[in-house]
Symmetry: C2
Subunit: 774 residues, 2 copies
């Protein structure tokens, strides 16, 4: 959509593989990418050119495939039945802890936001009331805007300056992580802290955001932390759960954490499990699913329990999630067959509006990548948005003359009288002068007639643009609640219009809450396009399965309509980050491609017993930066392929070099300590760079025996294998490197994630993305 | 648990592989299995010995792996973007049809059962009322027993004599199918017809059975039929959907069918999707999940619509499934934190009772396999059970003096007065003199006090044994409803006891319906042990997510407790059938086994250009009956392994032989028609046996070129690969044959499903099952 780029040749270099290409991939067809990166380090240019038809080389893959080397197999074979049972119990304990801490974090966020927002709205309300009569409401507006901006400034500063990866909802990042991509710093403790404080600030700052999306990210970070039994940031190692210090196990726990996050956010444990499976799992393992389910359950339960204590009703398990849609009573709110076409139509509207939202946000994000990339600019933009939000809300309330009688059992927390008569309140304030969660609930449950069509229409319009502007700011915040709010507003509007068209105030048409729910589902579906998990989340959040069927219909329609125009919001942001994301299947028309054409070659191979100097040189070669090296029997001639006998990773070689596991040819150093799996686990996941390891000239002459450490049975494919077949193997097993061999088992290439992610279906058939060091 | 058997040597022969072993696996360590099979064909012995530590060789695998041979690739490469889009649309259309027909079948079953059962109960009720005063109730009993037996006789005869695979709920068979095992005749039209009529007869016959399980099987058969666009039984080919005539596509549709079945049975579309994924998918594909979801939706919608028409309330979508738990109102039925331990305790009881049920049924099934294997015996047993059920029910009602006042808005369809005063009815008759679905609903929703503890206790006891005796009869019937009914009865009993202990008739303890629901979940979980799908099914059937959390807790507890004693009911029956079922993961302690030890060898290989006579001889060898043959470059010496270049299946060779795709060495027959994919698709899935193909002596001398037809890129593993690694590859990709090669890419063995299914965790660590021709 943006720039048009030239295709790079097949053998472009990747940082995953040991394949060395001759040609350098070009950024925008003109400038070598490495120079541009160095430039950007020296002095940030005013405009950063961006091209979404690129795949970034800076993202590495997770290894979902176990490295079954001799050390690993020996350990596994030593372990008895009881050991495995203990491990299984530890897994359950960890999942329980993940759920507990996720619930706790959600609870903290909820309570702190409640207190802060309560303080803010109270102050502003008093101020407004003071100045309504006297005139001079501009002072109230100023107070409100300043309070908002102050909160948002704090939230934005910590995100922009300390941990930019904590920006946004975190769902795209977690999607990528579960897809098998290592996003730097995404599951660190610091990210969690910034995320939690950031989301509190942005919600309290009155932005058009929700605190639900960030919960998913928070859950994932908690999972990554708890499951490793240590914190690298805090330099504490509890010496527990050491068995789980590898990507395979960690990723399983992160799935559980993400599910626990969804569960805490929406009170939807089943929805959480489905979310994790939908986003993460190319596999489905029953025990894993159980554990994810367990974590989700504990999470919602913990949140529920602590919130009930906070609300002085301990033991009353009525608030399972951060957002609570309130009770939809199945008696009063039924639907009928002839309403089904209406629901479908609303789904289509949701799809259209969602596509518009995504499209606007796409351009905005492109603009931000180009021009708003300095932290101070980002903070200023966030503050501006906060001030504008306050200003727009205030203006809307000021000019609205939709007054409603103040009911004693109304759900209004901060009813604003403004220019209404005594005993009445401003209806526009219901939706603007409130936290978004409460506004959603009012739209679902307020009695018919509590807001005029004009109020709802104006609200939809302004909030749509505010939410669109807000998503992508350097603050930690989610898009679920704003989407629901927009949808609920126009859904309620539809309901009111329908009732007025049919002139039947007592029929079922008259209940605008039902249409608000359907509208909310349609809008959310149109923006994020999640599927079956979203249905279940909505179903669980309403606490009523009666609406399961219409919600499904609406979501499917919204997805079909929306997909026709533009992708889902998360997918757009993933694409803009040039992440090598692997979809479910290879493009349909890619059967004409074979492994031979897809793979990177020639490959940098290592011998089974290799000179230390050679290894150091290969690892130090910054122009290739390979991560996996096939081990071959003997490289006789560098042009001729040699027989494959294993695969070794950069991280393993680094550990070997660090521990100086060398074999001196002259006198064999028998005192050498035997390396154990523990050494690899201790170094995981932050392996030192090769530059930090000193290898003397003497040592360079030593040899290293890789036999014990390499994976002796890497997965291989013959060179004639079609791309869909390669893709299927790669995706189903979560591989990082797939060796391509000829019919004599000799290495001729290596397929990595980027080689596969390059191909995607464009408007005009199969397209190929460029690889670049962005 | 039964006989103890000797282990067979590693190289035992399998019917899947091209591997030829020298030794014959022994049945019970004494008798060659093939002779015993021939014996059984000649004259059925009085007692059939059974040993569950066997894996039967009669089950073949489905090929979930596409055969990407030249023909296939050429076709795929010819197809443009639009063709793939059309295919995708066809898939959606098929899923819609599957859902529609499944809903229709469910609707038919429901209506016919309602009519028949209504007729029966009316007759018997009139008869009882006539004789209650006059004395001579034994005539009523006789009438009831004869009516029941008559219905059951019809149902049992069609099952036992025409289609034994239609017996039972069909869920174990569908589990196996989705696991990748070809159960003979399981998805045929005849099976569907027998299933549908059978279930109508057995439910109308008053057996302790449900009609929900069979719906899952019915959905699967419908899916298999619709997706192929033809019926082999009816000899009609509609010439549509020809692309889908292979195992990969068919299995996907069968998943959708099973989900549609669950959806129609319980009104649980999400639960249906989860069921299919839990049982079937070793993969998770988003588009597939969507389609499954769509089929489920259409299915429940169709059922709902037609039932609403039948009930003269068209358009009122209130009965989404065959079983309807009725409305659980969230206002009156809440639960509190201190009830959670109670729920867990009830889960444990459910687990214990479920284990007892399964254990009794296990011994009964062993007994049946040994002694009740003749169809006429089976019919007689079924009739006996029907008569006994009537007799027991009658006795219970006769001796019960639990009379309840007859309420005008009571849900009783056939209130029996018996010896109660006028205006009262017999409470025992509520549960016995009714279809099981309605009894479940009464137990959930009747007012507190409608049945005495004694009634409930006696009912639980008798129904438990009746249901246990019934499951496994040669009738088509499910175990869901009886389980729910038993659980609801003792759950309600628990509720009543709790209320009487706490002496608080007005507190929430007093609502026995809540405990009935929890008890039903616990009992069902204890018997079938399904997990997350069952939670969602229960949640959707109650139409209320408030109970989601307690139901989860109960199901988890029931599963943990039950698994401690004995497996789930379906797993027991799968095991008793000696099916080579692959679980989620390889046994934990199997890392010491490698592909070399697991594989079958030596392997019967074919040359790329092979003599027709050789092929015919290999295929005709009934003692091996191999299904897949590695194609090698040249077998120089049969002892030395040759280089792998492809894999070909028996079914493909049969088609090639049938179409005489020979190359005559002397004069090249250029007029030969080029074989197309269509020829293979037309022959699918009932490939003729080799005996039916006549090959003349001349033709035997011809050669056959396999290059175009073999899969040139079969998946391979090196011989040192550990069993878990082999297992993971095999399971994740749904393979049928996995070639084991040495480091020169030469074939040294073949791993098939049975080689992997042989290893399982027993009480004393890893155990190995025997292979036999049972």
């Amino acid at each position: 959509m943006a720039n048009i780029t030239k295709k790079v040749s097949w053998s472009s270099r990747t940082d995953e593989s040991g394949a060395a290409g001759e040609d350098t991939p070009l950024l925008n067809g003109s400038e070598p990418p490495r120079r541009s990166r160095q430039d950007s380090l020296r002095a940030r240019p005013k405009e950063i050119p961006h091209n979404e038809k690129l795949l970034s080389l800076k993202y590495e893959s997770l290894d979902y495939d176990n490295i079954e080397n001799q050390l690993f197999l020996e350990e596994e074979r030593r372990m008895g039945h009881m050991n495995f049972r203990c491990l299984e119990i530890s897994r359950w304990v960890i999942c329980g802890l993940i759920g507990f801490f996720t619930g706790l974090v959600a609870c903290c966020i909820d309570i702190v936001v409640e207190i802060l927002a309560g303080y803010k709205y109270k102050e502003v309300k008093e101020n407004i009331e003071k100045f309504t009569e006297a005139g001079g409401l501009s002072i109230s507006l100023l107070l409100w805007a300043v309070l908002n901006s102050a909160f948002v400034m704090v939230g934005s500063i910590i995100v922009a300056f300390f941990e930019p990866v904590a920006a946004g909802s975190g769902i795209p990042q977690i999607k990528c992580y579960l897809n098998g991509i290592k996003i730097p710093r995404v599951v660190r403790l610091k990210t969690l802290l910034v995320k939690v404080f950031g989301v509190i600030c942005s919600v309290a700052g009155g932005l058009a955001v929700g605190k639900e999306g960030p919960m998913i990210h928070s859950g994932a970070v908690i999972a990554a932390g708890v499951s490793q039994g240590r914190s690298t940031s805090l330099k504490r190692d509890f010496k527990i759960f050491e068995y789980f210090r590898r990507d395979t196990e960690k990723r399983d726990f992160v799935s559980a954490g993400a599910a626990a996050g969804v569960s805490a956010a929406f009170g939807a444990p089943v929805g959480g499990v489905l979310f994790s499976l939908e986003e993460g799992a190319s596999f489905w393992n029953q025990m894993l699913t159980w554990r994810i389910f367990f974590a989700s359950m504990i999470s919602t339960f913990t949140l529920n329990f602590f919130l009930s204590v906070h609300h002085n009703t301990p033991g009353e398990l009525s608030s399972p999630g951060l957002i609570n849609f309130g009770r939809f009573d199945s008696e009063t709110m039924t639907y009928n067959l002839y309403e089904v076409p209406l629901f479908i139509a609303m789904g289509a509207i949701g799809g259209l509006l969602g596509a518009l939202f995504n499209f606007l946000n796409y351009w905005l994000t492109i603009f931000r990548i180009r021009y708003v990339h300095r932290p101070c600019l980002q903070v200023m933009e966030a503050m501006l948005v906060a001030a504008v939000t306050a200003m727009v809300s205030f203006t809307m309330m000021y000019f609205s003359n939709d007054c409603q009688p103040l009911d004693s059992n109304s759900s209004e927390d901060y009813p604003l009288q403004l220019f209404c008569a005594d005993g009445e309140y401003n209806s526009m304030a219901t939706v603007f002068f409130n936290t978004p969660e409460k506004s959603v609930r009012s739209l679902f449950h307020n009695q018919p007639g509590t807001s005029s069509p004009l109020t709802l229409g104006l609200f939809t319009l302004t909030y749509f643009f505010l939410a669109c502007w807000t998503y992508g700011l350097a603050v930690s915040a989610g898009v679920f609640i704003p989407s629901l709010l927009i949808g609920a507003a126009w859904g309620r509007l539809c309901g009111i219009l329908l009732a007025s068209i049919t002139h039947s105030s007592d029929s079922m048409w008259a209940d605008p809450g039902k249409y608000a729910l359907i509208g909310a589902a349609a809008q959310l579906g149109g923006i994020v396009r999640m599927t079956i998990s979203l249905t279940v989340i909505m179903m669980e959040a309403t606490g009523n399965v009666t609406y399961g069927f219409p919600i499904m219909l609406v979501l499917i329609t919204a997805k079909i309509v929306g997909d026709y125009f533009v992708e889902g919001l998360y997918d757009i942001h993933i694409k803009l980050q040039s992440v090598p994301f692997l979809h479910w299947e290879a493009p349909a028309t890619s059967h004409w491609l074979t492994a031979r054409e897809v793979m990177s070659s020639p490959v940098t191979c290592l011998n089974r017993i290799e000179k230390v100097g050679t290894i150091v040189d290969i690892l130090s070669n910054t122009s290739t930066c390979h991560n996996g090296f096939p081990v071959v029997v003997q490289v006789a001639n560098s042009d001729e392929p040699a027989k494959l006998c294993g695969l070794i990773l950069r991280s393993q070689l680094i550990v070997l070099l660090k521990h100086k596991v060398f074999v001196e040819l002259a006198r064999s150093r028998l005192t050498m300590r035997k390396l154990q799996l523990k050494d690899f686990r201790d170094a995981y996941p932050r392996f030192p760079p090769i530059q930090s390891i000193h290898v003397s000239q003497d040592e360079r002459e030593c040899m290293m025996d890789l036999t014990e450490f390499m994976n002796p049975t890497p997965y291989t494919v013959p060179e004639e294998t079609s791309l869909p077949r390669v893709f299927k193997l790669f995706r189903a097993l979560g591989l990082r490197h797939l060796v391509v061999v000829n019919d004599e088992n000799k290495v001729i290439g290596l397929v990595t994630r980027k080689d596969l992610a390059r191909y995607h279906m464009g408007k005009h058939g199969l397209e190929e993305l460029q690889l670049a060091q962005t």
